[in-house]
Amino acid sequence: MIQVKNLTKRYGSVLAVDNISFSIEKGQIVGFLGPNGAGKTTTLRILTCFMPATAGGASVAGYDVFGESFQVRQKVGYLPESVPLYMEMRVNEYLNFRGQLRGLERQTLKNRINYVVERCWLADVIKRPISQISKGFRQRLGLADALLHDPDVLILDEPTVGLDPTQIRATRELIKELGKRHTIFLSSHILPEVEAICHRTIIIAGGKIVASGSPEELRERICEHSRLIVELKGPKDLIEKSICALEPVRAVEVLSSNGYVKFAVQVSPKSDVREQISYLAMKNNWLMREMRLEVASLEDFFVRVVAEQEETRKEG
């Protein structure tokens, strides 16, 4: 449904998107994950024909985004990041305007408006001027607009930003359900969000795709970088040495030692040393105050992946 090939976008001397390629199958919900400034919005804007690529190409629903932009725009429903709306219009006026602009028949438009108003919980504000409704309602109005013409492909840029927790949950449910009828490509910088709704995730950092896969696969990759925090009372050097001696342990770092000694333990992937450590403590009569698994945050993951990338680039 969406094909991206060697896409590159330069703003002056800044390389925003650096030679990325991926494809999205029909009926999939795919998350586009990355820190701010990673190139997510730029990529989505190219896919929705708002701006051209510097090099490379992309096609959506079988049409080229550059040569057949009009057809692409007919097939796509797009929710821009900033949710731009005409503030002076009323909610129903805006939906009417957008539907007419898309050439929907009067009766179809009426039905579609009823449908999106219900799906996006807009009934309460239907007659209010957009300037007077809250950010959450505006976000949902933007989503309603994207859905209005029942598009094959939905491209949503940060669809849950600015919503309160209840609305976020409801919006995720809605997107999941929409995924049954539409192909959805959504961007986000929140990992749990993408994990909750997407079949597949593409991670972008510094304009490059750094990882891609199902949420489980990514979770594993991130967990490789998690560490165990342990706080024990006992002789620092001895504790360090005994933990180091454990088979799966790759590194031990002393974080602090006043009375209790606090360690950060790194283990090799897919192994768990918590039982062994608690056994060690019991055997040696070291009092234990804390032991927890510190799962690397997505941000750490990005930092690491980007740093790794830099290194390989230098070496290469």
């Binding site: 804007r45 725009r73 219009m89 602009l101």
Partner: protein, 239 residues
């Protein structure tokens, strides 16, 4: 007419009725027109005509129309609504023409109350209907040309003030400067300047002359300017 152009023009026209600036502009235009009419035109003993009023209204349009057009594209760029507009299936020329027409309709609506003056001049002074009709026709053509220039300058910037000042500068050159210097130069230059002199061309309309060359000139320049505006908008896709 193309449905999308119509939809866009309707939205643009409606946006004026929500805009305080548009009301101020219309109010100033009508108030000043009223003052001119009461003070200089509708005076006992004077010839019953609208020409003096038309000439001054044409003069006022240079100041007033940039204030209407400044918003139409610059505001879309500033607020980011251009993103949802241009990612909808609309052609660039439809956006420009729709916005032009919406503004032009508002301008035409602004002229409607002044028909009362025409009625008074006709009713109390037995004025000739011909020059009144050609005068209004000329105003609509001249306003169209000015609005097309404003549309172009609005497409160049996201700052409404910049857009208005640019339009005002261009219109002043074409209207006041050319009017002032056309008779001071000679030869080819005079021919060139006379061709471009919109104020003099408008003068023929307000005198009751319907010269097809003027009509062709106004329409050609308006369409040409809009064409450039379309290209400017299009260039955003290429940049």
């Amino acid at each position: 007419m193309n449905d999308r152009i119509w939809v866009l023009a309707k939205r643009e026209l409606a946006a004026f009725f929500y805009s305080p600036i548009a009301y101020v502009v219309a109010a100033v235009f009508l108030a000043v027109s009223g003052i001119f009419f009461a003070g200089d035109v509708f005076v006992p003993g004077r010839e019953a005509q609208m020409r003096d009023l038309f000439d001054r209204q044409a003069f006022m349009l240079v100041f007033i129309l940039p204030m209407l057009t400044m918003r139409i594209l610059a505001e879309e760029f500033r607020a980011g609504t251009i993103e949802s507009l241009m990612t909808a299936p609309v052609r660039d020329y439809e956006v420009i023409v729709g916005k032009f027409l919406g503004t032009w309709f508002f301008f035409a609506a602004m002229l409607v109350p002044t028909l009362i003056y025409a009625g008074m001049v006709k009713g109390y002074g037995q004025a000739d209907l011909g020059p009144i009709v050609t005068g209004y026709f000329g105003l609509l053509l001249l306003g169209g040309l000015y609005i097309s220039v404003g549309t172009l300058t609005s497409s160049l910037t996201k700052n409404q003030v910049v857009s208005a000042v640019l339009a005002f500068l261009v219109l002043s050159i074409f209207t006041f400067l050319l009017w002032g210097i056309t008779n001071r130069v000679t030869g080819t230059w005079q021919t060139v300047l006379r061709t471009l002199n919109v104020y003099e061309r408008f003068g023929d309309f307000s005198r009751g002359l319907l010269d097809p060359r003027h009509v062709v000139f106004f329409i050609t320049v308006t369409v040409g300017t809009l064409f450039v505006a379309v290209k400017v908008l299009e260039s955003r896709r290429w940049r």
